[in-house]
């Protein structure tokens, strides 16, 4: 207790004497904890509304679409099935609003909401027994179309009859993904109303949801349902697909943040260790004095660990708050669930452990300081280092030589300083590499499989007319017919997208990363995600059901595939069955270099009299632009870490050579030369650290991005290292800033009266 009081005085005084450095430590640790927490929030689907919606609505894990209503009793007896939702009759209708047609799945429900997979009414109300024309619309669908409660909802059934319905409520659901990622849009109406709109049972399907005991284990129920219902099944989906559809591109961001966070933690540990180590060295005399006053070795150790560890813990606390705030504000409007306690606890404990250990190691050395204050903690002296001799050899100015010598008088701290600067620099380089990759996406979309800038749907025009109009535009270089059908993988439990574009003779310019382009019927390209899903290699033949037609597909290459997690099969139109390929569903237009897609789109719309539907292709980099904000923020945090290390190195250099300064001045060095000596001593470490970090970063960044591409299904072949110019500028800025920072204390020291006293 008594020691605590005395120690508190010491800590307070010490912190007051180095406010800036203490603040830097707190900020750096806070920044890293923020990055880690945001990354966990993102990786954990904290930002994915699916989890919240599913829990709130007591959603069904598996949805089965069948022709006729299945045997509910038999389904409920399947292994793992807890409850059954439905079956609900669902009819395809077309909603026509202001001339725009949107397909809608109209689902018949009862006035009493079901216990499983309950639609969550957010506005308006649920259906009432008398609502002959009332409809409740899925919220994202309603928002996309600008529908509100009370709006009219005119639908046309397959028989051509129109029915004026009215929106009575908007509801959220976990039954399917958001519109327009997941089509058709969903709307609920009373079963009686549905029977009136679509009297023919054969034109509707039956949808049944299975809520499982263990959501992770969907396979037994899926297999059971397939065996039970066999060819009645038209489509099946599991909660995983719904969740994936609702997911923003957060995973990549989360991984990036996690990578930065973990490496940043290493950098922070180094910064803390360097700061404490430097502090112990500069305070050797004070520590010895404390010992002569009656501090024991353990108490000194405790004192230093508590002081520096507390800064780290304060940083962690700040980071916790910041992490929540950043996650809250950055992902504005997305319903956010706090990350589950376990990873949060792991982050807190892990960071705390790293910080405390990083503080404790040098503190332990501080505790072993002999209590004899008279013994100076001078650096090991003696011969010139190899570097210094080299500097002498090439006849450098004396200030440089002396600085070079000074840089390595203490080997371990010098190496730690270099390492402490190299790690943040490496991460900054990796961040710049991610930036360069995004730029590359935008500048060369063809390299990420997006050669076409526009997609034209014939809509009201005949397909040939659409193709002719598109080809007639002067800035359209090529027009490729395309069609998208669903393909069932061999086990038939999941559907993937099969995209036909171009023909074997004239294939669309896919970006083939491995293997070769398809050149004959039956040959196809796959994205990395599909290869992983099927567990096949390039060159394998796979039996798939493409658009309802069984087909043996020879996979001859891998494309860079930014869509659908890479689970896409790309093939030529001639491989598709004629019913799917003729006429083409759409045309992909490759524009001349430099053409403005918006201008071409406007021309095409005008030329067709607004009868064509022309859509711009969304570049994945546009969706990932938030990554740039993250990269900038991380560079700031990493620079703080570098700065912390730099200040330590600079303070240590100053302390070690304070006595020499008097000697140097006595020998006739001008203050400017003395300052140059000091700056050289620190600057050499900076240059070595920064160059090593940049080199390491540049050499791993391509591999890292490709690894991420591989795991996310896009596939390797997208990573770019930062351009040599960017890298040179980054290194120059880092070194320049570091030298400026080192110059201030050096000038002050050079001009100060240096007392010739023992230390």
């Amino acid at each position: 207790m008594s020691t605590a009081r005395a120690s508190a005085r010491w800590i307070r005084a010490d912190l007051r004497a180095r406010r800036g450095q203490a603040l830097l430590t707190v900020l750096a640790v806070a920044g890293i904890v923020t990055a880690l927490i945001v990354s966990v929030t993102l990786l954990e689907d904290g930002t994915n509304p699916w989890r919240g919606l599913f829990t709130e609505s007591r959603g069904a894990h598996v949805w089965i679409h069948t022709g006729n209503a299945p045997d509910v009793t038999a389904l409920s007896r399947l292994p793992g099935v807890a409850e059954v939702a439905g079956p609900y009759r669902t009819a395809p209708v077309t909603l026509t609003l202001e001339g725009k047609k949107s397909p809608v799945a109209l689902r018949g429900m009862e006035a009493r909401p079901p216990a499983v997979a309950t639609p969550l009414v957010r506005q308006g109300r649920w259906l009432r027994p008398g609502d002959a024309d009332g409809v409740v619309v899925e919220r994202s669908f309603a928002e996309a179309l600008g529908l509100r409660v009370g709006a009219s909802f005119p639908v046309t059934a397959l028989n051509g009859a129109s029915h004026p319905l009215t929106v009575v409520g908007l509801a959220d659901t976990a039954d399917q993904g958001f519109y327009p990622e997941w089509t058709p849009g969903l709307a609920w109406t009373l079963t009686s109303a549905l029977a009136r709109i679509e009297p023919a049972l054969g034109r509707s399907e039956s949808v049944t949801g299975l809520r499982l005991v263990d959501g992770e284990n969907t396979l037994p129920a899926v297999h059971g349902a397939v065996t039970l219902l066999d060819d009645q099944i038209r489509r099946m989906s599991t909660w995983r697909e719904v969740r994936a559809a609702m997911e923003l591109d957060n995973r990549l961001l989360g991984l990036l943040l996690a990578l930065f966070g973990v490496t940043g933690l290493v950098a922070a540990a180094l910064a803390v260790a360097n700061a404490v180590g430097g502090r112990v060295l500069t305070q050797t005399r004070d520590i010895a004095t404390l010992k002569s006053l009656g501090y024991t070795r353990g108490q000194i150790f405790g004192l230093l660990t508590v002081e520096h560890g507390a800064l780290g813990l304060l940083g962690i606390a700040c980071g916790l708050v910041c992490g929540q705030l950043v996650a809250f504000f950055a992902l504005d409007g997305v319903p956010l669930l706090p990350p589950s306690p376990l990873p949060l606890l792991l982050i807190i404990l892990g960071t705390a452990a790293v910080v405390v250990v990083a503080a404790a190691l040098p503190a332990w050395r501080g505790g072993r300081t002999p209590p004899l204050p008279a013994v100076p903690a001078a650096p090991p002296r003696g011969r010139l280092s190899r570097m210094a001799r080299l500097a002498l050899l090439v006849r450098l100015p004396p200030a440089l030589v002396l600085g070079t010598r000074d840089a390595f008088t203490r080997r371990t701290p010098a190496l730690l300083s270099i390492f402490g600067l190299a790690v943040p620099m490496m991460m900054i380089t990796i961040g710049l590499g991610c930036w360069a990759t995004l730029d590359d996406f935008l500048r060369h979309p063809e390299r990420v499989g997006q050669a076409a800038a526009l997609v034209v749907h014939p809509d009201k025009l005949p397909a040939e007319e659409a193709a002719r109009l598109a080809a007639a535009d002067p800035q359209v270089r090529a027009v490729y017919p395309g069609a998208e059908v669903s393909a069932l993988e061999p086990e038939q439990t999941r559907t993937v997208l099969a995209r036909a574009l171009g023909t074997s003779a004239e294939p669309y310019p896919f970006r083939v990363a491995e293997g070769r382009m398809f050149a004959a019927r039956g040959e196809a390209l796959a994205g990395q995600g599909l290869l992983d899903l099927l567990g096949v290699k390039i060159g394998d033949r796979v039996r798939m059901t493409v658009g309802g037609t069984p087909l043996i597909v020879h996979i001859v290459g891998r494309v860079v595939e930014p869509d659908q997690d890479g689970e896409v099969l790309s093939l030529g139109m001639d491989t598709l069955a004629a019913k799917d390929a003729v006429p083409p569903q759409f045309y992909s237009l490759v524009l001349e270099p430099g053409a403005d897609p918006a201008a071409v789109r406007a021309r095409l719309l005008a030329a067709s009299g607004e009868k064509l539907e022309v859509a711009r292709v969304v570049n994945p980099a546009e969706r990932l632009s938030v990554i740039r904000v993250v990269i900038v923020a991380l560079i700031v945090v990493l620079s703080l870490l570098g700065l912390a290390n730099l200040l330590t190195a600079s303070a240590l250099g100053l302390r070690d050579h304070a006595l020499d300064l008097a000697v140097l001045k006595a020998m006739g060095l001008t203050p400017r030369q003395v300052a140059a000596t000091l700056v050289t001593g620190t600057g050499l470490l900076v240059v070595l650290g920064v160059v090593a970090g940049a080199a390491a970063g540049a050499s791993v960044v391509t591999g890292l991005v490709d690894l991420q591409g591989h795991t996310s299904g896009v596939g390797a072949g997208i990573g770019r290292a930062p351009s040599p110019l960017t890298l040179t500028v980054a290194v120059a800025v880092a070194v320049g800033a570091a030298l400026l920072v080192a110059l201030i204390p050096a000038r002050r020291a050079a001009r100060a009266q240096v007392p010739v006293t023992a230390r």
Binding site: M1, S2, T3, R5, A6, R9, W10, A13, D14, R16, A17, R285, D286, A288, T289, L290, K291, S292, L293, G294, Y295, T296, R297, G298, Q299, P370, P371, L372, P373, A374, T757, A758
Partner: protein
């Protein structure tokens, strides 16, 4: 039975190892210091006088021999036990003052008291008293670097006396001061001694040593001379018989 001497060393030896070559600094010193004595240890540079007081305060470990403080053997203590002992019984004054640079004068003086378990109020009262006595009351909130050398040494003295130690060890306390400040510090030491404080002072300055009751001369780590200077001042609790003896 008379009280045990404050300090008693028996054949105290300290041998440094310098690159494998043994360098004896203290070679068999037997020193007895009674309570209330003011002993100056004199000797040229390298005679082992600093090493001797450092060993007495536990800052340096002995190679062989015994050290007794206040009647108990202390040379066998661990480093931590020495630290605890220093808190209560030993005050140090060093040549370079060794004030904690980041702490104010007040904090520097209160630190040992707090360390020894005094309440913040007691520590503050003691500090106010000491700084007042030493004429530094108005500098309590200054940083050590703002003080002149003599002032710094007075603060160091106040800090050393904060816990009313049984033994005050001063290692060249005037070595870094000009003559005026030297005089001030010595006057203070004399006053403290008159109040009954046992002092062992290391110096190579004969004028400084002349202030002491007794001068022990050290040469090459051995005591070559040990004698009283002038009339031996007795501690205040001396008996009437002592006074009679002095007058006769």
């Amino acid at each position: 039975m008379s009280p045990p001497p404050i300090v008693n060393t028996v054949n105290l030896v300290r041998i440094y190892q310098d690159g494998g070559v043994p360098v004896p600094a203290v070679r068999g010193v037997d020193l007895k210091v009674e309570a209330g004595e003011f002993v100056a240890i004199m000797g040229p540079s390298g005679s082992g006088k600093s090493t001797l007081v450092h060993m007495l305060g536990g800052l340096d470990a002995r190679t062989s021999g015994e050290i007794w403080l206040d009647g108990s053997r202390v040379d066998t203590l661990s480093e931590s036990a020495w630290a605890l002992l220093r808190r209560r019984k030993i005050g140090f004054v060093f040549q370079f003052f060794n004030l904690v640079a980041n702490m104010t004068v007040a904090d520097n003086v209160e630190l040992p008291a707090l360390l020894a378990g005094a309440s913040p109020r007691e520590a503050r009262e003691r500090r106010e008293y000491l700084l007042g006595e030493l004429g530094l009351a108005d500098r309590a909130d200054a940083a050590p670097a703002q003080l002149a050398g003599g002032e710094q040494q007075r603060v160091a003295l106040a800090r050393a006396l904060a816990n009313r130690p049984s033994l005050l060890l001063a290692d060249e306390p005037t070595g870094n001061l000009d003559s005026r400040n030297t005089r001030d510090v010595l006057r203070l030491l004399g006053e403290v001694h008159r109040d009954g404080q046992t002092i062992i002072l290391v110096t190579h300055d004969a004028r400084v040593a002349s202030l002491a009751d007794r001068v022990v001369s050290l040469l090459d780590g051995q005591i070559v001379d040990d004698g009283a200077v002038g009339p031996v001042r007795r501690r205040p609790r001396a008996s009437a018989g002592d006074v009679v003896e002095l007058r006769s």
